[in-house]
């Protein structure tokens, strides 16, 4: 593992993906071209063979930013080279993990960065049709993307014979209808096909049989936005950011009890403490931290003793959690954890597609028990029962939505058990949660 950037380094970190965000008209093609936009795509399409692109991306170590952190180049290489079927790229912009709002920034403020990444991907894999599946609620992002696509068509960056090569590409924006499960890659494919957003059985994996049963690459917005920079500034430069196993910059979405919540671009591997205290200005009122959710609501909670965990794929994995979508939710010591967990439970209960038995029934069951505990009617055996139900939900379903509830729930039960037991013994909601309802100075 290479040296993690020093705090001073990260503070001085020059943003890559968000460099031009906040500038006037940053979403327009003219602005994008004014700072070397589409140069990378142009060079890649003219000078690189598809295999060379895939190799370069493999070497860069770019990992999927959607949550699982799967190596991007490796994913592309699973797509069969010789096939009679058309191939598809589906860009996952259905950002719906609670605590995550990073793709939104790119879609709304720098959509051409994404389109350039799409161009590079499609050239590498031999794709002529790409879809951007954007969350339905993100209306502004969809409008900006559509406008950007129109501009790109007008300039000849999309359409037929792009950059004078035998390379055609059409990009379509598809707005989802507001289901969390449609952000799961196969659920998204079902939805895009016009069906109910049921995740599909794997294998076959989308790279072999995905959208319309054709080979399909599914990549997150942020992943694709990284590509132009890799080809503009080189693999070595890219690998110099972040850690050995998690290279590159990352957009961290910090929310909850911090003084300056927002989207921050920092190298992967930045310690959680630094992110909270140095980047986001600490906790309002200098209160203590009760727990941190490091990677969106589906990631297991971290306790206050785990703030030195490096925010990288491997660092959080070692800490028993996951980087996920890097949606960092900070909960200070006024937080009623049962309330927080109930909120997570409610979300996954509501968003379970209901296809597999353990998830369909388990999420609802867990929520009902948590609700009862929260209402002050908990029993001492409830903690073990929830833990046992969560055990039964993990790894028994088609997709990982049931794990996404079970894992954070189990982490809370394990790490904060004495507190929960105290709450149950009290038989009424935590008095501290009354405190939490007071408006936070950060808001």
């Amino acid at each position: 593992m290479s040296a993690i950037s020093k705090p001073s380094d990260t503070l001085a970190f020059e943003p890559v993906l968000t460099r031009y965000i906040g500038k006037k008209d940053s979403h327009t093609l003219d602005f994008y071209l004014s700072h070397g936009g589409y140069d990378a795509a142009k060079r890649v399409v003219r000078d690189y063979k598809p295999d060379e692109v895939i190799d370069a991306v493999k070497k860069s170590g770019l990992r999927g930013r959607g949550g699982a952190g799967f190596p991007c180049g490796l994913k592309w290489s699973f797509v069969p080279k010789k096939t009679d079927k058309p191939k598809y790229l589906v860009c996952n912009a259905d950002e719906s993990e609670p605590g995550t709002f990073k793709d939104r920034v790119i879609n709304e403020e720098d959509p051409h960065q994404l389109l350039e990444g799409i161009l590079i991907t499609c050239w590498a894999v031999g794709i002529e049709t790409a879809y951007i599946y954007i969350r339905g609620e993100m209306w502004r992002g969809a409008q900006r993307l559509k406008a950007a696509i129109d501009e790109a068509y007008a300039k000849g960056y999309l359409g037929k014979k792009i950059f004078g090569k035998k390379f055609n590409l059409d990009v379509t924006v598809h707005r989802g209808a507001g289901a969390y499960i449609c952000g799961e890659e196969t659920g998204m494919l079902s939805s895009l096909e016009g069906g109910r957003g049921y995740p599909k059985l794997k294998p076959p994996f989308p790279a072999v049989e995905g959208l319309f049963r054709c080979p399909t690459v599914v990549n997150n917005v942020e992943t694709l936005a990284n590509l132009p920079h890799i080809f503009n500034r080189g693999i070595e430069w890219y690998r110099s950011i972040g850690t050995e196993e998690s290279p590159g910059p990352k957009l961290f979405c910090v929310s909850g009890h911090v003084n300056k919540p927002g989207v921050y671009e920092r190298p992967l591997g930045i310690p959680l403490r630094e992110l909270i205290y140095d980047v986001c200005g600490g906790i309002p009122g200098d209160r203590g931290i009760r727990a941190v959710i490091p990677g969106g609501s589906s990631a297991p909670f971290l306790g206050p003793d785990e703030l030195d965990t490096p925010m990288s794929y491997e660092g959080l994995k070692d800490a028993g959690s996951m980087l996920g979508s890097a949606g960092v939710i900070v909960l200070d010591d006024t937080t009623d954890l049962l309330s927080a967990l109930l909120n997570v439970g409610k979300f996954y209960h509501h968003e379970s597609c209901g296809q597999c038995t353990p998830c369909r029934e388990g999420c609802g069951w867990v929520e009902k028990i948590l609700q009862r505990m929260h209402d002050g009617r908990g029993r001492s055996e409830d903690i073990d029962l929830v833990d046992e139900i969560c055990n039964q939900m993990v790894g028994k379903t088609i997709c990982v939505l049931s794990d996404a509830l079970a894992m954070p729930a189990q982490s809370v039960l394990k790490k904060f058990r004495p507190e929960l037991e105290k709450l149950i013994a009290q038989g009424r909601p935590d008095v501290l949660c009354e405190l939490a309802r007071e408006p936070s100075p950060a808001l």
Binding site: A179, R196, L201, R213, H349, H350, E351, S352, C353, G354, Q355, C356, T357, P358, C359, R360, E361, G362, C363, G364, W365, K368, I369, R372, L385, Q392, G395, K396, T397, I398
Partner: protein
């Protein structure tokens, strides 16, 4: 028996330590079932695409870190699968506990109780207790279409019905609505479940969520006695089970037969037993005097269509009625010769009945049918609408509404009937016919006016029928008949597939089956020594009629066999093959 089996590529796997040759393209679950290793499952159905949502068939595999669902696992060479272990037992208990938490457990009022997979698996694989103490969810109960009723609370959302409508019926009327544990089967607004085989969703429903409306709150299924038989409502001849209780048919259910109907039957056929239990069923032998008036042979028939002849028949019994038939036939033969007879069979008779009726015609008239001999014809109902599922499969609804037209062609064409129906009509109207025997047996039959009116003017009209109607009204001798749920016999479907129909109930009242009736008459005429069972008659028939040679009730078995190659049935792909997974 069926089409020659394709060579199937197999791999060697081990299940619970036992070595098996597993077909490569077949899920491990199916291979296990085929080899007598039972794995409980809900969403998997061999005719439907694989959905993998119920998680009931979880097992462990040597090549997978986590438990796998055997319905979506295809065998890997050398892999070992375990379906009987503490771990798998625990997995099944978990899934069953989950399935029951929002289930109302209303077995005492549920019609599925007794044939419910949820009940059965809970008993065999589940725990005796649940840790669920919260409130259960409530989901809707409604009619999805004319024939199908949904009890949403009992549904386990295995989506078999949804996939059936999409992959077999092809109309895709059903969908899953809502999310998570509020999931509920529903139709789209304004589009009810009205495809012609909608009732099948109730058959494939593993729990008590979907019912054919006809069967709701009728009886408990564990009281039912089941008889394998064949549907009589069209020339497809679906293999069915006739379920009876207390002397009444309670329902018909399709029976799996890959060469005829797969797992399905149509909604029309499903209630095709109704007439057999009708209160007005003919059940009494009646004999009246020969009709005068026309015996002089004054040409055209007199009775008009609005004026059925007033019945002058008096109640009689089997023996007396048969004696009357013999006597009248004898007299007519003596006075007018064989040309004064007419015999009209029906495409609703079994092949045994046709075989006997053919012989009886010759015996009674004293000459083989033909110009100089008795006039002959066959009654059949007009074609209806054919329907084929949009997505392949062996099943279809035949446009031919007659269950045994093929059998009639094979047995009666040439030997019994050689002239078109119009010739029969001409002869009936000519006044030369003094003795006509018409076999009906067709529910809701309305014969053409000419035929009906001609009958009304003939001196001796023997009618064998099941329901009162235009035929029975014109009979001078009425012989009640057995319906298809009351008789044994073989029916040949439109594709030349012979299947056994079996009696599930005795015929009503004092009625004897036509098989007995025809044989008894032949016996009295000295043509046969004993009255045989259907099986015995079939053996005679098989010895005499080439197409049926080498077949017997034993070789026909429960699924039947092909007896003619007229229309070789090509096996179209079934739902799964067509829809892949």
């Amino acid at each position: 028996m069926s089409a020659p089996a394709k060579t199937v590529e197999t791999v060697k796997i081990k299940v619970n330590g036992k070595e098996l040759d597993a077909p490569k393209d077949q899920p491990v679950l199916q291979t296990c079932l085929d080899n007598g290793i039972y794995i409980p499952h809900y969403c998997y159905h061999p005719a439907l695409s694989i959905s993998g949502n119920c998680r009931m068939c979880l097992c462990t595999a040597s090549n997978a870190p986590k438990a796998v669902i055997s319905c979506a696992t295809f065998p890997a060479e050398g892999a070992e699968y375990t379906t009987e272990s503490e771990e798998v037992k625990k997995l099944r208990e978990i899934i069953l506990e989950f399935l029951l938490i929002n289930h109302p457990l209303d077995c005492p009022v549920c019609d599925q109780a007794g044939e419910c997979d949820l009940q059965e698996f809970s008993f065999r694989f589940g725990k005796d207790d649940s840790r669920f103490e919260e409130e259960k969810n409530y989901r809707h109960t409604k009619k999805l279409g004319t024939n199908v009723r949904l009890y949403g609370n009992r549904c386990i959302v295995c989506t078999r019905c949804v996939r059936f409508c999409e992959e077999i019926a092809g109309d895709a009327e059903l969908c899953v609505r809502e999310r998570g544990d509020s999931n509920i089967i529903d139709t789209f607004p304004g589009i009810p479940l009205e495809n012609p085989i909608s009732g099948c969703v109730a058959d494939i429903c593993p729990v008590g969520a979907l019912f054919v409306d006809d069967f709701v709150h009728k009886t408990r299924v564990f009281f039912l006695e089941s008889t394998t038989s064949v549907c009589n409502m069209c020339a497809t001849g679906c293999s069915i089970n006739v379920d009876t209780w207390q002397g009444e048919v309670q329902r018909l259910r399709p029976r799996h037969n890959p060469d005829v109907n797969d797992y399905w039957m149509c909604d029309r056929g499903r209630v095709g037993y109704k007439y057999s239990g009708a209160a007005e069923r003919l059940s009494r032998y009646e004999v009246g005097p020969a009709r005068a008036g026309s015996s002089a042979g004054d040409g055209k028939a007199k009775a008009g269509p609005t004026d059925p002849p007033r019945s002058t028949r008096a109640p009689s019994d089997f023996g007396k009625a048969l004696a009357a038939v013999s006597d009248r036939a004898e007299r007519v033969r003596r006075e007018h010769g064989p040309g004064a007879f007419a015999f009209v069979a029906s495409a609703w008779m079994s092949v045994e009945e046709m075989f006997l009726f053919r012989r009886l015609a010759t015996t009674l008239a004293g000459a083989v049918p033909g110009e100089a001999g008795p006039a002959t014809g066959i009654l059949a109902v007009a074609d209806g609408e054919a329907w084929t599922p949009r997505v392949g499969g062996a099943f279809k609804i035949d446009s031919d509404r007659n269950p045994n037209r093929k059998g009639a062609e094979m047995l009666l064409l040439g030997s019994f009937i050689s002239e078109p129906f119009s010739v029969l009509l001409d002869r009936l109207e000519s006044g030369a016919i003094k003795f006509a025997w018409v076999v009906g047996g067709i529910p809701d039959f309305s014969p053409m006016d000419r035929f009906r009116d001609a009958l009304g003017a003939i001196s001796n009209v023997v009618v064998t029928d099941i329901l009162p109607g235009p035929l029975s009204e014109r009979a001078t001798i009425l012989l009640p008949a057995a319906s298809f749920v009351e008789k044994d016999g073989v029916f040949v479907n439109g594709r030349g597939w012979a299947q056994r129909c079996r009696a599930a109930l005795p015929p009503p009242g004092e009625t004897r089956t036509e098989l007995d009736l025809f044989q008894e008459l032949l016996r009295r005429a000295g043509e046969r020594e004993r009255v045989l069972s259907a099986q015995g008659v079939y053996a005679e028939l098989a010895a005499e009629v080439g197409a049926f040679a080498d077949t017997s009730y034993k070789t026909l078995g429960a699924l039947g066999a092909r007896v003619t190659d007229d229309e070789p049935a090509e096996r179209e792909p079934t739902g799964r093959e067509a829809a892949k997974r």
